[in-house]
C-alpha cells in the first residue's frame, strides 16, 4: 500500500498538534516538510505535539524531518514532542541528539565581508608572487648547476620531454602555421591586388610571421600541449607522494623534475618556431602561386625584407616563451594539493597563466624592439 504523506495542523488548549500520516520516505516526504516546519516555527511559544501514530513507514529522510522539527529553537515550556512513533522508528530517531544539529548550517552560509575578501585575496596574491619568485631563483640555480655539471642532468628525462614537447608537436604546428600563412597571404592578396601590389604580400606575410605570429602561435600551442602535460605529470607525482619520496631521498624535485623539462623546452621552442616560420612562409607561397608569382620570386622578396635583427630578436623571444611555458607548468605541478581534481586545476591554471604571461612578455618585447629598431 502506498499512500502519500499528509499533514494536518490543529490547535487545541494552547497546543499545536501536527498530525502526520502516510509514507514518510525520501521519495515523498518533501511534500510535507516545509509545511510542517512552518507550523512549528509559527508558534515558538506554545508546545507542539507531533502525532505520528498514522505514519505507515519512515526512512532516514523521514527521521530527518522529525529531527528538523525537534531542533528548532523554542521558547520555555514550549518544546516539540513526538508522539505515537512506533518503537523501531523511535530507536532510529534516538540515535541523534537534536541539539547537535542546531545552528550548524548558518555558520557555513555567513557571507565573507568585503574587507575579508580583499584581505585574503591580497595575501594570496602576495604569497603567490613570492612563491613564484623563489621558484625562479631555485630553478635558475639548479639549471646553472646542471650546465656546469652536465653529468648530473637526467638526460633520459630531458630527451623524453624534448621528444614529447618538440617532435610530437610537429603535426599540429605544421597544420596551424601552414593555415596561418595561407590565410594571411590570401586576405592580404585580395586587398593588394586592387593596387597591383601582390608582391608586397610576401613582405607582409614574412614580417608578421617572423616578428609576431610564428613565435606567438608556437608558444600558445606549447602552453596547451607541454605546459599542461608538465603540470599534470608533476601534479600526479605530487598527489601520489612521489615528490615527497624524492625529498626524503634527498633528491631535489627542482633539479630532478623541473630542469629536464625546462631544458627541453628551451631547446625545442626556438626550433619549433623556426619550423613554424618556414611552414607558414610556404603557406603564403602556396597562395601566391595561384596569383602567378613564382616561389623563387616570393622567397627572394621575403628574405630581402626580413632582416637578421628581426630574426635574432625572434629567437630571444622564443627562449623566454619556452621558459615561461615550462616554468609555469612545472611550478603549477609542484604546487598541486591533494586529489584528482587538483591535478586538473593545476593543468588548467598552467595553461591560463602561461598564456597571460606570454601575451604580457610579447607586449614588452614589441615595445623594446620598436625602440631598438628606430
Amino acid at each position: 500500500m502506498t499512500s502519500a504523506p499528509r499533514l494536518q495542523v490543529a490547535t487545541a488548549h494552547g497546543h499545536t498538534v501536527l498530525r502526520l500520516s502516510g509514507l514518510l520516505d525520501a521519495a515523498r516526504v518533501d511534500a510535507v516538510w516545509n509545511a510542517a516546519l512552518e507550523a512549528v516555527q509559527r508558534s515558538p511559544d506554545a508546545p507542539v505535539v507531533v502525532d505520528t501514530a498514522a505514519v505507515e513507514h519512515l526512512d532516514g529522510a523521514g527521521i530527518a524531518l522529525l529531527l528538523d522539527l525537534l531542533r528548532q529553537p523554542r521558547g520555555e515550556n514550549a518544546g516539540v514532542r513526538i508522539e505515537g512513533l512506533a518503537a523501531r522508528y523511535q530507536a532510529l530517531l534516538d540515535q541523534f541528539d537534536p541539539a547537535q544539529f542546531r545552528a550548524q548550517p548558518e555558520r557555513a552560509r555567513r557571507p565573507a565581508s568585503v574587507r575579508e575578501v580583499l584581505g585574503r585575496g591580497s595575501m594570496a596574491a602576495t604569497s603567490g608572487a613570492l612563491d613564484a619568485l623563489a621558484f625562479v631563483g631555485e630553478t635558475t640555480k639548479a639549471l646553472m648547476h646542471a650546465l656546469r655539471a652536465p653529468r648530473s642532468l637526467r638526460w633520459r628525462d630531458t630527451l623524453t620531454a624534448a621528444q614529447r614537447g618538440g617532435a610530437d608537436a610537429l603535426p599540429i604546428v605544421s597544420l596551424i602555421s601552414f593555415l596561418m600563412g595561407l590565410i594571411l597571404a590570401f586576405q592580404a592578396a585580395v586587398a593588394m591586388r586592387q593596387y597591383g601590389a601582390e608582391m608586397l604580400v610576401a613582405d607582409l606575410v614574412g614580417i608578421s610571421l617572423v616578428r609576431e605570429l610564428a613565435p606567438l602561435m608556437t608558444a600558445i600551442l606549447l602552453a596547451g600541449r607541454s605546459g599542461a602535460a608538465f603540470a599534470a605529470e608533476i601534479g600526479t607525482m605530487r598527489v601520489d607522494e612521489e615528490v615527497d619520496a624524492l625529498v626524503t631521498m634527498g633528491l631535489d624535485p627542482v633539479r630532478f623534475l623541473v630542469v629536464p623539462r625546462l631544458l627541453a623546452a628551451l631547446v625545442m621552442t626556438p626550433l619549433l618556431t623556426l619550423y613554424a616560420m618556414m611552414v607558414g612562409l610556404f603557406g603564403g607561397a602556396a597562395v601566391m602561386s595561384t596569383f602567378e608569382i613564382p616561389l623563387s620570386a616570393y622567397m627572394r622578396e621575403t628574405f630581402a625584407f626580413v632582416t637578421l635583427s628581426d630574426f635574432v630578436g625572434d629567437m630571444v623571444k622564443t627562449f623566454v616563451f619556452g621558459a615561461i611555458v615550462a616554468g609555469v607548468g612545472c611550478l603549477r605541478g609542484l604546487r598541486t594539493r591533494a586529489g584528482a581534481e587538483s591535478v586538473g586545476l593545476a593543468a588548467t591554471s598552467a595553461v591560463v597563466t602561461s598564456l597571460v604571461l606570454i601575451v604580457v612578455a610579447d607586449g614588452i618585447f614589441a615595445v623594446v624592439y620598436y625602440h631598438l629598431r628606430v
Partner: protein
C-alpha cells in the same frame, strides 16, 4: 662517496621534543614528546584524524613544526640545511602509504635510483645491490615491471626495498598493511620482523591494524584526537589489559564506545 656519518650507538635513535604541529595555524597535536629506541619497532596509532600521518611527515622533515624539534641520531632535522640535512635524510628510508614508486621507472630502476645518486658504485655493483634488496622483499622476478603492473601488496614491498637501498638505520612505514588481505598483510609483518631482527633496523610504523600491531610492535605511541596529545605509550599487550585510560583499553580491544 660513502660519507654517511655513522649513527651514534648510544641513546635513543629518534627524539621528538615538545612538538606542536598542524595546518594553517591550527594545531593537530600539541607539545608531543617521545623517543624511539635503537632497534625497536615503534608503532604510532590512534583514531582516524588523530594526526598520525601528520606526525610522521613532520618526523621525516617534510613539514616544519610550529614549535619543537625532531632529533634523528642526535641531529635536529627541523633546522638542518644543505649538506647537514642531506646527511640526516640518508639515515632513514620512507615507505609512503601508496608506495610512491616512480611510475615511469621499472621496479629495478626505482631501487637503483638512490644508489645511482648517492654512491660511486659501478653500474654492475648497483645492479647487484638493487637485486639483493628486491630479493629481501621477495619480489625477485618482478624487477622489470612498472609500478602500475604490481599488486598493492607488491608495491608496498617494492617501496620498502627502495627505502632500504642505501641501508638506512631507520625505516618509516606509513600504513604498511592498510587495504591488504590478511595474508599479504602478515607477509609484510614478517618482513618487518625479519629486517628488525636480522639487520637491526629501527622501525617507526603508522598503523591501525590491530593484529599487525600486536605482531610487530615492541612499543606503541597512542595519539588522542580530543586531547591533541599522547594518550598512552608502552607495550601494546600490557596497555590492552592495564592501561589507566579506559579509551585506550577499548581501542586496543576493539570495543565500541558505550552509548
Amino acid at each position: 662517496m660513502s660519507t654517511l656519518p655513522p649513527l651514534p650507538d648510544t641513546g635513543p635513535i629518534i627524539r621528538v621534543e615538545n612538538l606542536t604541529i598542524g595546518y594553517g595555524g591550527k594545531p593537530v597535536l600539541e607539545n608531543v614528546s617521545f623517543e624511539v629506541r635503537r632497534g625497536e619497532v615503534l608503532v604510532i596509532l590512534g583514531g582516524s584524524g588523530s594526526g598520525k600521518s601528520t606526525l610522521l611527515k613532520h618526523m621525516i622533515g617534510l613539514y616544519t613544526p610550529m614549535t619543537g624539534r625532531v632529533l634523528i641520531g642526535g641531529d635536529d632535522i627541523v633546522h638542518a640545511e644543505g649538506a647537514q640535512r642531506q646527511a640526516i635524510l640518508r639515515r632513514f628510508g620512507v615507505m609512503y602509504q601508496h608506495g610512491a614508486l616512480f611510475g615511469s621507472m621499472t621496479l629495478l630502476e626505482n631501487v637503483r635510483l638512490p644508489l645511482e645518486t648517492f654512491t660511486a658504485l659501478s653500474a654492475r655493483a648497483i645492479d647487484l645491490v638493487a637485486r639483493t634488496k628486491i630479493d629481501l622483499v621477495q619480489l625477485t622476478g618482478a624487477e622489470d615491471r612498472l609500478p602500475a603492473e604490481l599488486s598493492g601488496g607488491m608495491r608496498k614491498r617494492a617501496a620498502i626495498a627502495r627505502a632500504m637501498a642505501l641501508d638506512p638505520g631507520i625505516l618509516f612505514l606509513d600504513e604498511p598493511s592498510a587495504g591488504l588481505d590478511p595474508i599479504v598483510s602478515a607477509d609484510i609483518d614478517q618482513l618487518v620482523l625479519r629486517l628488525s631482527r636480522n639487520l637491526g633496523v629501527t622501525f617507526v610504523v603508522v598503523s591501525h591494524e590491530l593484529p599487525s600491531i600486536f605482531a610487530i610492535a615492541s612499543r606503541v605511541v597512542m595519539l588522542d584526537r580530543r586531547s591533541k596529545s599522547i594518550a598512552a605509550s608502552g607495550d601494546p599487550r600490557e596497555l590492552r589489559e592495564h592501561a589507566p585510560d579506559e579509551w585506550v583499553r577499548r581501542f586496543l580491544n576493539r570495543e565500541p564506545e558505550p552509548a
